[in-house]
Every structure is written in structure tokens, then in C-alpha cells.
Chain length 633, copies 2
């Protein structure tokens, strides 16, 4: 069972529990070969604090001693490991060593009998060079075996692997098919050959095709990915689990894993990232050590460094700066940079999972920073809000103050030229426009250009100064606009959708500003407090505002509908939990303001989402929305 | 005394020794306030392994107890610190607290009397908002005081600070002026206000203006820079020393330093970079600790993290990947990204210090990767070699093989379209062309375009197929070219300068290739082995080749001239050391092949440089060139 704790788009920190054992994800399951223990499972649990491991049921099954021991002692005792134990099925061995003629049912029975917490079906490994037909037939056979396995899994949780080679439509198909079968856990398989040849950008394609078609409430595991270089990118795309025999395999070749790549013992002198092993031993000492001792120490280094990279990625999720971190990490290798460039294609798909705003400012640190889904959203929402405007005047940020008289009186839309492109004057204070930091000379983008019949400031002023130009008539109006009202209308329309301002401001509006900063703080309608402005430039809805929006917009817009039972609790101010959600506006995104309603669309109160609809309907545990204000509270 | 150990352009690892104490640079001098010790100097030496510290003579001078103690015990005993102790003069305090009316001579005498290893003149701090006149007068007064100080410094080493506010010509002037006075050590002052306001790109300008006009054999210290975020960028530009009170100042505000920025205790949950403090204590424990205990622990964290970042930068220098590392680090903050973009201006200036090739492949990981000096060099040398060519045919990498017959017979220059731009066909195997890694879709640059009357492949083939087109006559020649000869001629001209091929191949040439790879390995002239090809695609000169180049090119081209005494040793194969160099070809760069000659230009042998001329004539210690082959060895 997965519970969402922190999120930054698809990247997430979760609590995963099985058989009363818990692990915080994203995490790494070290691969344990019970026949050749290098670092003991007990050390992995206590020293490295890794609460889940993976071992291979096929290897145990094929060794009479191990088999006997596993059947009598069961896995947890045999390995002396109190955490979550997953077993793999032999698929990968079949891929490496060729037709092993394994029996899918026998290997599944065996996993269950030896007490695996999570077992894995014997799926068919899809090679990158498979034909479409081969890949499709592997998917079908995998699904057939999966369906069989689900019948005999008993209490064991079951992992159903998503295959499909490099055919993205097949990956989508496989993900949908496996998702429909309702496995407990979804590994993404067939990627090791791609990882080995640095085809990270292909893996991005595969991850998107798979992840977005899987049940979001189930863990996703990238099978065979054990190099910390690729953790951040995978986690950005929603991966929760990695497994790794890399820590040992690389150690056997005297190779040290680092977050920016691999280093060979013979080439090392300085130590770029701390590890207890390289703190205790000089590189030269390690070189002279007996082989087995050295392998163990390098394996320990590799595991430590992998955990450290996971901690860095978790920090980034917690701080909601996963995009910044991935953009930084992607400078370690051209193949990672390729993968970063590939993300551009998926802005629209990722935007549905993207938080409304973030804890910290938007940092622009390369041209690729413009490919983040939040920029796609900005552009999309501005286009939809302003696409019918005809006369557009472009301002530079420097001359906004000088232009105030025209802005107040002109019958035109004013756009400000910012490093994000052209932004409506009224929206200059929302995230990420105001909450951003750019280099001295950012790369300018020109969005919205095609919808405009645009004048720049100089054109405007020269025309206004020319008595023969008819512009005065069409441009300057008698009526002086209330810029604050214009601003809150624009923000509300941006945040809650077109016409929201009509819903909210249908009476006398009073705006209260901060005495110190002059910034808008609260908005009253008919002397009732309806909106409060946050640091991210967006509004928090008060109960009364929710009521107005509820009355104005038809179901399900802006709503999350909860069961009758839940409604009674939510009315008292308790948060909305996953299994009580019956429906939700599909346009709501994480951290949106939301109206909570009962199944008959009776209005209960306002809150803030933590999930989008796809997620809310699937998760069985955890909070979907925070309830802020109801009639009763 | 500074000795160069490893280098990557201006970035360098050196051994700095004073009074029989040694420190490896780049390093950090923690600031010690003798009145308020937070981490003991002994711990700094033993636990943090930092072999130099800085303390403030003005603070000691102004406190009767400390003054008395310092004069009687001397600094090393008083602070219980066996490493190098530098003293600052009170300039910064004067800057912070206003006119303190310090006496430059008294404060210098005092530093000497208390036993500082390195003392600092009382220079005039130049604020970023100084007028030119103010900045210039500060420089003049600083130089005047410096000249006085040099007379009374005794055995103490003396630091002469480079000031100049943000006026780059004044920074250049100050650096030249202070350099001419021959101080032992060069701090760059007046940058703290710029660091505090994240004006990193201004600091890049200042560093270049200062560093390139200072004696390269003296240490450069960036005064007041203590945040690890900016270490890599400064070191790229030749900074050797940092000092920091930041580790304590930030700790007092509950702020943790990290290589990617600062984090406040209250915002922290996960730990992105290991430190012993955050390994031992939970963030919540630290929050509840008594203030002084917490400050000490955060200060320890800050120092540890700073040292770790220095280790990462040293690794990058050792691995000759400082540019890759700086480009990655620059994604941590838009101000760092600004500074990275600023570097583009200085490609030409930096190229003189840039190694001929590197240990590892060139990694392209952003559009900024094209701003590295090695790309500037590539472009410059190719232009100079091919600018007179008239008919140019552009090949794609994919169709080189198909075109072989035309390449062999055509009276034209063939350029290959690579992600580096257009590269002559013959140079495709040199660094960084072959030794490079690009993303799937690199940003293409079109160098050389303006010098070409260019045909692409399709044009060429269609013209060749048309019997009425006169191209056959002008294009296809009877003579079939020897492509291997063309290739070694082009490489030699690129590596040693135009006409080098005439010097080297003035007789029957034999090329030996690897049986396995088909790559050129060695070149013989008149059955004498003259060249060996390295992995970087360049040639190593044999003794006989050096002799040919020596005979062909006039002094000082390709030469390093050593004293008579040295010549005798070098003849026996001993390396060339700094204080014996009397002259050098100013066009030689680090890791170039070089001819060693005596003062009368008698040819001694061939070797490989480690420094350029500016450096070779200034350094007093360390190797300038490795001698590989002489007449006697």
C-alpha cells in the first residue's frame, strides 16, 4: 500500500507498506545473491538503512542447498533481514543465458512458499532489437502468465512487469493491460540493455509511455537500474524503486559509482564525494588489498553513494526543486543531457501532475529551464485567457511605471516583455513570474506573438502625440480603469478558469492591501472576506468564495466529490482521504484550491488538493485534499 | 613558494610552502577570531586537515589581552596551530565600520612581530560604487603603502592586495602595478559586496582582469569568498586560496552551507550532502540544542562541506574536466549561470593556458559547452590552416565512406559537418573531434561558413553526373591522393603550425598502422622513426623530428631555451625545471611538444611542456617541461 507524502509533479516521496513492514520511497533494493553474500542483508538494513532488498528466486530454486534452506527457514530468516524482501523470477537470467525453460507457475509457487513479501511473475524480457511482433507477443504472453499468477499468489504481493521493447505504443498498451489486471507493484522491464548503452533518452520515452498508463497508486520499479547517475531523471518521471547489483558488479571491476559517473580505482587520486570507505582507506591501500576485501569495500562505497544520491533527490522533491536538480545532474554526461532534451516533448503530459506553484523561486539556469511543465502551463493559460484580445501594447519591465496613465485609461491589453515571454500586466505577481530568478542575459522567448496586433511603447507614444492620428479616439477612454480590480480578475481567471471573476465579483468589491508593501492581501465582496492572497501570488478561497464558484460553475468543475460518510467528517474540517473520493474535476492539479462536495453536489467547503483526479480515484491511502473551511468550521 | 602539480587551463593544484610549512591548493583558510574561538585551530588542522588559517591582526592589536599574548607567545603557540598562519590587516574592518584611522606601518610591524607566516598590507578597500577617481586613488595609495611595507616586512611573506572596484582597466592596472612590486602573495580585494549580492558575473570580469596581469607563480587569494557555491568558478580562473568566516557567520543564523546553495535549519528535512554533523544529529535535535552548541556544530558542517567541494574541484582538475564541472555547478543558481555565460568573452584570453588535449573525452552537456577555450582554439587553428582554400565540399559523417573515391581524387578541400562545426576531413581523429561525446541532437554550429565557396555532396554528385558540366575538368584530377599522407600533414600543421609538414616530410615517408584498428601508429622518414601517434590523435615527436623542426623554423618557434648548466642535465634526459628557463616560444601551450635548446639555440632534444611562456619564466620551482628524448638518451 502506497501513501503519498511529498510531491513535485510526478516525482514523489511515499510510504510503502507490506506485511507490516515499511519503506520510504524512492529507494534502492540492493540485489542479494544468497549464494554469494558480499554485504550482509543485516548490514544493508542497519548500516545503510535500506528497508527493502531483492533476491532471485530462480537462483535459489536451482541450488538444492539454498532451496532446501529457503523452504524450511523462509527468506527473512535465511537472509537475516527484517525488511521487505522482493523476489525476482528468473526472467533476466533467461534473457542473459538464453532459453532456461522455466515454468512460470512453479517459480511463482516457490516465491510464495519461501515467504517473499513481493513476488514477480515470470515475464518475457523484450530486447531493444525485438521486432514489433516479437514485442507484442511477449507482452501478451506476459499478461497471460500474469493473470494466471494472480490466481495463485496467495497473500504474497505480486509484481507485474511492463514490457514492450522500444515501441512506445506497445509500452502504453502493456501498461494499460497490466494495470487492468490489478497487480500490486509494477516493474518496468527490458531496459538494462538500454541503460548499458547509455540510451537514457529512449528510457525517458519508455518511462513516460509506461508510467502514465499505470495505476498511480502502485509503486513503479525500474528493473535493473542501479547507477546513481540516472536516479534523478527516473524519479522525476515517477519511479519509486530501483534495484541494483551494480554496486557489486562494478566493485568486481574496481569501479566506483558516483552521482556524476563511474571512476576506476587506477585513475583515482582525489575523492569527489565523501564515502566512509574512501575516508578510511587511501586509494593506494585499496589497490593493494586482497581482491575479496577490496570488492566488499568498493561495494560498500557504491551502496553509500547510491543512498546519498537518493537523499539528494528526496531533498529536491521535498524542496520542490526536482526540475532544477535534474537539469543540474544532466550536465554529468551527454547521454543524460539527451534525456533532458527529450523531456521537452512531454510538457503537456507532465503538466497534469505539476504543482500549481512551488515553495521556492523558479531558477532559470539553462535554455532547458523553459521546457519545464510549469512554463507550458503558463503559456497555455495565458493563451486561453487572452487570445481574443486585439490591441496589444508591449511594455518593458522598466517602463511600467512611466506607462501607468496609459495602462489606466487605454482600451487595450498590456503585455510585459519578460524572460518568460509576453505576460499580461495583471499577472506579473503570480508564480513563477514574480517568484523567479534569471541570469543577467536570459534567452528571450516570444510566446503569444502570433495572436497579437501589437504596438510597442514607442509606436504608441508617437501616435498619441500626433494630433492627426485617430488613435486617441479608439485608444484613450473616458473611463479610468481600476487596476487592482483588473488584476484580481485576471489572477482569478488564470487560477480558477475563465469567467471565475464573473462568479466571484458580482457585487461591491473591497481590496485590502499591505500597509508596508502595497501588495494585495485580502478581497471582500459585500463586506464578506472571500479571498486571501498568498506569497505565490495566487488566492486562497474562503468559504463564501467557494459557495459563489459552486453556484456559478456546473459540476464537476473545481470540485472533489466525496462519499456521504466522508462528507460528514469533512464538514467538521477533517481532510479528504483517498478511499472516500467518488469523483473530481479532471482539470484540477496538485495544490489547487478545490470545492468539496457530497455525491449530490451539495457544497461542503473549500480546501486544497494534493492529487489530481487520476491519482485521487486510485489511491487507497493518504490525503487527497486538505480541508480549510466549511460551514461548520 | 608555489609549485604546480596538476593543471587544467588556469585551474591548478599546487604545493605552496612557507617557513617549512606546506599546503596543497586550492584550499580554504578558515577565519579565526582569537577572541571567539568556535572551532579550535587544532581541530581545523587535524580534523579538517586544513593546513592554513587566517586571523585578523587588527582585532588582536586592539585587544590588550590578545595583543600581549600574541607578542609574547607568538601566533602559532597562542592559537595552537602548526600550519601556515596568514594575518589580515584591518582593511575589511575599516570598510565595514568606517574610518578606523589605522597606521599602515604599525599594523605591518605588528604582524611581523607576532610571527605571521604571511602578513597583509593595509590596503584601501574599493567599494563597487566607488567612482573611477576614488578607485584609482585607492589603488595608488595601496601601492604606496605596499612599497613601504615591502621594506619592513622582514622574513614575513607579504600579501599585496589587488583593488580597483568594478573598473576592469583599473583592476588590470592594479594587478600590473602590484605584480611589479613583487609581493609574495596576491589577494583580490573589494569583492565581498559583490559576492553578497550574487554579482558573480562581475567577479568573473574582475578575476580575469586581475589574474591575467599577476605573476602566475604567486598564489592568488579571493578575499572574503567563503561560500562553496563559487569555489569551482573561481578556481577555473586561477584562484588558489579562499578565506572564510562564512562557516561561522552562516552558522550563527542557523544556515547550512551546501555546494548548491544555503539551507536554513527550519526548512530542512532531508540531507542532500553527507556531513558528519548531520549524520550524527537529526535536524530536529539541532533545533533544540543550546545556541552555542548548535553554532559550533553547524560551523563544523559548513567547514566539512566546503572542504568536500574543494575535493570535488580538485578531482575535476586532476581529471582535467574542470569545464564540465563548472558547467554543472553553474546550474545551481541563475547568478552562477550568468557567470558561466560571461566566460564566453574570455575564450581567447584563456586559450593560452588551455591544455592541448585532455585525459578524457570532451563532454557536450549544454550550449555553453561550445564556449570552452578548446573550441576557440580548434576554430582558430582550422581557420588559419584552411582559409585560403577555395573549393570546399561538405560531407556528413555518415557519407564519408561513400565519398572516398571523390576525396581521393578531387582537387578540393573536404569538410565534415560535425557538432563542432565544419572540420577538415584529415583532422577528424584529433582531440576533441574524435574524443568527444554529444547528445543525440546537439546544437549545430556553423564555423568557417564565411570563408567557403561551398558545395554540398548532392550538388557535387549532380554536377559530376552531368556530361555538360565542366566540373570534371576542374575537379577530378589524374593524380590519386594518398589520404594517409594528407592526414599526417594536416595534423602536423595543426599541432606544430603551418608548414611544419614541409619541415618533417621532406623525403620518403612510411606510415605504420595498427593491424587491429587500422589507425596510424608511427611515421618514418628515410627509415627513421620520427613521429608516434597518441590516443588524443596528436603526435609525439622523436628526437629526429625535433631536429628537422629545429632546422626549419627560426628561433624561438617551438622552443624552450634553458641555461647552459641546465642544458647539460637535460641532455641526459632530466626534466626542465623552472628557474633554468631563459626563453620560450610564446605560442606554446601546456602539454605541447617542445624542442629544448641551450641559450645559443643548440638543439638538445624533445619533450613536452607543462607551462606556457608567461608561467615558465616566472615560476621558481617545479617542472616546466618533461624531457623525452635527447641525443644521449
Amino acid at each position: 500500500m502506497l501513501e503519498l507524502l511529498e510531491r513535485d509533479g510526478l516525482a514523489r516521496i511515499c510510504k510503502f507498506s507490506v506485511n507490516n513492514k515499511e519503506v520510504e520511497t524512492p529507494t534502492l533494493m540492493p540485489v542479494i545473491n544468497p549464494g554469494k553474500i558480499v554485504i550482509s542483508p543485516r548490514d544493508i538494513y542497519e548500516k545503510f538503512k535500506l528497508k527493502s532488498i531483492i533476491t532471485n528466486s530462480y537462483i535459489i530454486y536451482n541450488n538444492n542447498d539454498l532451496k532446501e534452506k529457503a523452504l524450511t527457514q523462509k527468506l527473512h530468516k535465511m537472509l537475516d533481514y527484517p525488511g521487505i524482501i522482493m523476489t525476482d523470477s528468473g526472467t533476466f537470467q533467461d534473457h542473459v543465458y538464453g532459453n532456461l525453460e522455466l515454468d512460470p507457475q512453479k517459480i511463482l509457487d516457490f516465491q510464495r512458499e519461501i515467504g517473499a513479501d513481493i513476488g514477480t511473475i515470470l515475464d518475457i524480457f523484450t530486447e531493444p532489437d525485438f521486432s514489433r511482433e516479437q514485442a507484442l507477443s511477449a507482452i501478451e504472453e506476459t499478461a497471460r502468465r500474469g493473470a494466471q499468477a494472480l490466481k495463485i499468489k496467495g497473500n504474497m504481493k505480486l509484481a507485474g512487469t511492463v514490457q514492450g521493447s522500444v515501441y512506445l505504443d506497445l509500452r502504453e498498451y502493456a501498461a494499460q493491460k497490466m494495470s487492468a489486471l490489478e497487480f500490486d507493484y509494477y516493474p518496468i522491464g527490458g531496459v538494462v540493455p538500454l541503460l548499458e548503452s547509455y540510451r537514457y533518452s529512449d528510457i525517458v520515452d519508455i518511462l513516460i509511455a509506461s508510467k502514465l498508463n499505470l495505476d498511480p497508486s502502485k509503486p513503479v520499479h525500474l528493473f535493473g537500474a542501479g547507477h546513481p547517475m540516472f536516479f534523478a531523471m527516473s524519479i522525476l518521471l515517477g519511479v519509486d524503486f530501483f534495484d541494483s547489483s551494480s554496486y557489486i558488479k562494478y566493485a568486481r571491476d574496481n569501479r566506483f559509482l558516483f552521482p556524476d559517473g563511474t571512476r576506476e580505482l587506477k585513475d583515482m587520486k582525489y575523492v569527489p564525494y565523501y564515502s566512509p570507505v574512501l575516508d578510511k582507506y587511501e586509494v593506494s591501500e585499496l589497490a593493494q588489498m586482497p581482491y575479496d576485501d577490496r570488492v566488499k569495500l568498493i561495494a560498500e562505497h557504491n551502496l553509500f553513494i547510491s543512498v546519498e544520491e537518493l537523499n539528494r533527490v528526496k531533498t529536491a522533491i521535498f524542496e520542490q526543486s526536482i526540475w532544477e536538480y535534474v537539469e543540474e545532474r544532466s550536465r554529468s554526461h551527454p547521454a543524460l543531457y539527451s534525456a533532458l532534451k527529450t523531456l521537452k516533448k512531454y510538457q503537456e503530459k507532465l503538466e497534469r501532475f505539476e504543482n500549481l506553484s512551488r515553495k521556492h523561486a523558479y531558477f532559470y539556469t539553462s535554455i532547458e529551464s523553459l521546457n519545464r511543465p510549469v512554463i507550458y502551463r503558463l503559456d497555455k493559460r495565458i493563451r486561453s485567457e487572452f487570445q481574443n484580445e486585439k490591441t496589444v501594447v508591449v511594455l518593458n519591465q522598466e517602463n511600467i511605471d512611466k506607462m501607468k496613465q496609459y495602462i489606466e485609461t487605454a482600451n487595450a491589453t498590456f503585455l510585459v516583455h519578460t524572460p518568460f515571454g509576453f505576460i499580461p500586466y495583471q499577472l506579473m505577481s503570480i508564480y513563477p513570474i514574480l517568484q523567479s530568478s534569471f541570469p543577467d542575459y536570459p534567452d528571450k522567448i516570444d510566446n503569444l506573438k502570433h495572436i497579437m496586433d501589437s504596438w510597442d511603447l514607442d509606436t504608441l507614444i508617437s501616435r498619441l502625440k500626433n494630433p492627426d492620428d485617430p488613435i486617441g479616439d479608439e485608444f484613450i477612454t473616458e473611463h479610468k480603469k481600476d487596476l487592482d480590480i483588473e488584476k484580481i480578475r485576471a489572477i482569478v481567471d488564470y487560477q480558477f478558469g475563465k469567467y471565475s471573476s464573473n462568479a466571484l465579483f458580482n457585487g461591491p468589491v473591497k481590496i485590502v492591501k499591505s500597509k508596508n508593501t502595497g501588495m494585495i492581501r485580502t478581497v471582500f465582496l459585500d463586506d464578506k472576506h472571500i479571498l486571501s492572497m498568498r506569497n505565490d501570488g495566487f488566492f486562497t478561497l474562503k468559504y463564501e468564495a467557494g459557495k459563489l464558484l459552486h453556484a456559478y460553475f456546473k459540476y464537476p468543475k473545481l470540485r472533489i466529490a466525496v462519499s456521504k460518510d466522508s462528507a460528514e467528517f469533512n464538514m467538521l474540517g477533517k481532510n479528504v482521504f483517498a478511499r472516500f473520493v467518488v469523483d473530481m474535476d479532471p482539470d484540477l492539479i496538485p495544490y489547487d484550491e478545490v470545492l468539496i462536495v457530497d455525491p449530490d453536489d451539495n457544497y461542503i467547503g473549500v480546501g486544497r488538493t494534493f492529487m489530481n483526479k487520476t491519482e485521487a480515484l486510485k489511491f487507497k491511502k493518504g490525503m487527497v485534499a486538505e480541508v480549510r473551511e466549511t460551514n461548520k468550521k
